[in-house]
């Protein structure tokens, strides 16, 4: 089966609804055959972006390219792009087979029905071909929606929160299945989701969106390891962010001073290298040790923050999540793997330790609360 995927390029896309700017000067290049995720909270403009790629919405300004072709002015039915809708949007009056063959029939493909049957085989639903959508479970409908899109071998396949309505177990299963199918058909997948775990496990490249703009694009591990904005640091996993002043710089390394203590920071891991910056570290990269006792692994290249007090402990089995208050710095979250059966209890005095190479630096004016999901 020949790979049909093509590059997708968005150039300075802006979409306004009246006074409201849903998407703000967004540019993006997705190479052919990628599994690309647009990740962001609801209302960040990710669905609007998807609809503009599909042709269901037209940008106020900017251009959309599929392959080398400028498709900005074309309508949805003229684009070699198919969508798996969040609500599936299966045609209730048509059988499953007719639903899957719908696109091929519009394109007047001679063996539409045979291809549709093959697509149903792919999602393991061939035995339900004659049923109506209402007679299928949610997970089955989801797979029909996928088959109905994939069967057309589009240049770009769009997934609009397609797993949102499924329960957790089915979701995990569909995630793997989607990934397999993408490998098999070689189509460029653009997956819109607000679930960071889903984006990280499925996509090769993730774009984190916020307020109509892309905050950062990169492979999941890179985004997680080295977030460039406070929003990404907080939305993708958890981060401890605190203000610090750059006191010294020797080119490769910066010295930071904060709340009466110091740490090093790799200059290459800092967005801003002078003045007051926001430094950050992931909770699992901090070791909490009893006050005055350095952890065994600590050595040169480690920083120590003394004077912590455990304020809350939540045990999750494989790990324990501690909230630790540090004078002058506020709360730190620390994930500790439960390697030993003894942990800290509330009120314990601890020091925090981290390897300086794990620290990242953000701009000094970053809003340290950005991207923290309100629960």
């Amino acid at each position: 089966m020949a790979a049909s995927g093509k590059d997708l390029v968005l150039e300075g896309i802006t979409k306004r609804f009246g006074d409201y700017t849903a998407v703000d000067d967004l540019s993006l290049h997705v190479p052919a055959g990628r599994f690309f995720a647009l990740l962001g909270p609801s209302g960040c403009g990710k669905s609007t972006t998807l609809r503009m790629i599909a042709g269901l919405e037209h940008p106020t300004s900017g251009r959309v390219y599929i392959g080398d072709e400028d498709v900005t002015a074309t309508k949805a039915h003229q684009r070699e792009v198919n969508t798996v809708f969040q609500s599936y949007a299966l045609f209730p009056h048509l059988s499953i087979l007719e639903n899957v063959a719908f696109g091929l029939k519009r394109k007047k493909v001679p063996d539409a029905v045979e291809q549709a049957k093959a697509a149903l085989e792919l999602v393991e639903l061939a035995h339900l071909a004659q049923r109506k959508p209402a007679q299928l479970s949610g997970g089955q409908q989801q797979r029909v929606a996928l088959a109905r899109a994939v069967v057309n071998r589009p240049h770009v396949l769009l997934l609009d929160e397609p797993l949102g309505a499924l329960d957790m177990k089915l979701r995990r299963q569909m995630q793997t299945e989607l990934k397999t199918i993408q490998d098999e058909v070689g189509v460029t997948f653009i997956h819109v989701t607000h679930d960071q775990e889903e984006a990280m496990t499925m996509a090769d490249t993730v774009a984190v969106m916020n307020a109509g703009r892309i905050e950062q694009i990169g492979p999941p591990d890179e985004l997680y390891d080295l977030p460039a904005t406070a929003f990404v640091a907080n939305f993708l996993g958890k981060s401890n962010l605190f203000e610090a002043t750059v006191t010294e710089s020797n080119g490769d390394w910066l010295s930071l001073s904060f709340a009466g203590t110091t740490t090093g920071l790799a200059a290459s891991r800092a967005v801003q290298t002078t003045g007051t910056i926001v430094a950050g570290i992931r909770p699992e990269k901090i070791i909490a040790a009893p006050a005055g006792q350095p952890p065994a692994s600590a050595g040169s290249g480690w920083a120590k923050v003394p004077g912590g007090r455990v304020t809350s402990v939540s045990y999750t089995g494989v790990s324990t999540e501690y909230e630790i208050a540090v004078q002058g710095l506020g709360e730190f979250t620390v994930f500790a793997q439960n390697l030993h059966s003894t942990g800290f209890t509330e009120g314990d005095q601890v020091d925090l330790w981290w390897e300086e190479s794990n620290l990242f630096g953000l701009a000094g004016d970053a809003d340290t609360e950005a991207g923290i999901e309100e629960v």
Binding site: A76, A89, F102
Partner: protein
């Protein structure tokens, strides 16, 4: 315990009895029509004078009865087709598009439903006279289309409101142009609503006496014929036509139910 058992007993017969009485109340006039279509009537068809099949064998015997029946059928058919097509389009416009004066347009469509029929009929007459239009079949059809549209719009709008707009987007996404999307997805899903609207239009037009009486001139519809005949005594053949229409409607409904049942059976067998 005894109290409880007593209460259950009441509820067991209450619903069937009330339902039975309601149906009896609804159907008594129709049963009369049916029975008296077999009456060997004299000048009037108000008292039972004996059983005969002659009314059914020659229903067109009374002068003008069958002409009026055919006139009514023609008017109702044309009015239904035109009102259903126009009304469907209006319903779409009102339900799917936001435009200036949408609210007022909405209200205007409902007005004919709220205006008393006598007033509507009289004012239409004065309009036709002022325009110098010859009264007859055309004016009758025009006036029927007018009030049928309102019913069609109301019925079909309700149906459109239940349609998921995502379905049309999905069709567009799957290479269907706007017109293909309409005929392949939207229209098939609207058929039940359109059929209901058309049946309603037909029934209302076929039934109408007041508006036709003002606007038909010398052209006579069935209700008008009956009204005039009532002064001399309605012929039993009118009952034949009434019964015929009733039986036709019943057999249509039965046919649809049977067809649905078989289709479901065959679908289940295919699965």
């Amino acid at each position: 315990m005894k109290q409880l058992a007593h209460r259950i007993d009441i509820s067991r017969w209450f619903v069937p009895v009330v339902a039975g009485l309601s149906f009896f109340y609804l159907l008594v006039p129709i049963v009369y029509i049916l029975i008296y279509s077999f009456n060997d009537s004299g000048r009037t068809n108000l008292t039972w004078r004996g059983f005969t099949l002659s009314n059914w064998q020659n229903p067109c015997r009374p002068a003008g009865l069958c002409d009026a029946f055919i006139n009514s059928l023609q008017v109702a058919l044309i009015a239904t087709v035109v009102a259903t097509v126009l009304g469907t389009m209006i319903a779409f416009g009102l339900e799917r598009f936001r435009f200036k004066f949408a609210g007022s347009a909405n209200l205007l469509v409902f007005l004919p439903l709220t205006a008393p029929e006598v007033v509507l009929g009289a004012s239409l007459l004065s309009q036709f006279l002022n325009l110098g239009v010859q009264l007859g079949m055309t004016t009758t059809v025009l006036s029927h289309i007018m009030f049928c549209i309102s019913f069609v719009v109301v019925t079909i709008r309700a149906r459109i409101a239940t349609l998921d707009p995502k379905l049309e987007e999905a069709a567009a996404d799957l290479y269907a142009s706007a017109s293909t999307a309409f005929w392949k997805v939207t229209f098939p899903l609207l058929i039940p609503g359109i059929a209901a609207a058309a049946l309603l239009s037909f029934a209302i037009s076929f039934d109408d006496f007041i508006v036709a009486n003002f606007n038909s001139g010398s052209y006579t519809t069935l209700p008008q014929f009956m009204y005039v005949a009532a002064r001399r005594g309605i012929p039993a053949e009118a009952n034949v036509i009434g019964s015929f229409m009733f039986l036709l409607a019943v057999s249509l409904v039965v046919a649809v139910q049977v067809w649905r049942y078989w289709r479901r059976r065959s679908l289940e067998r295919a699965v």
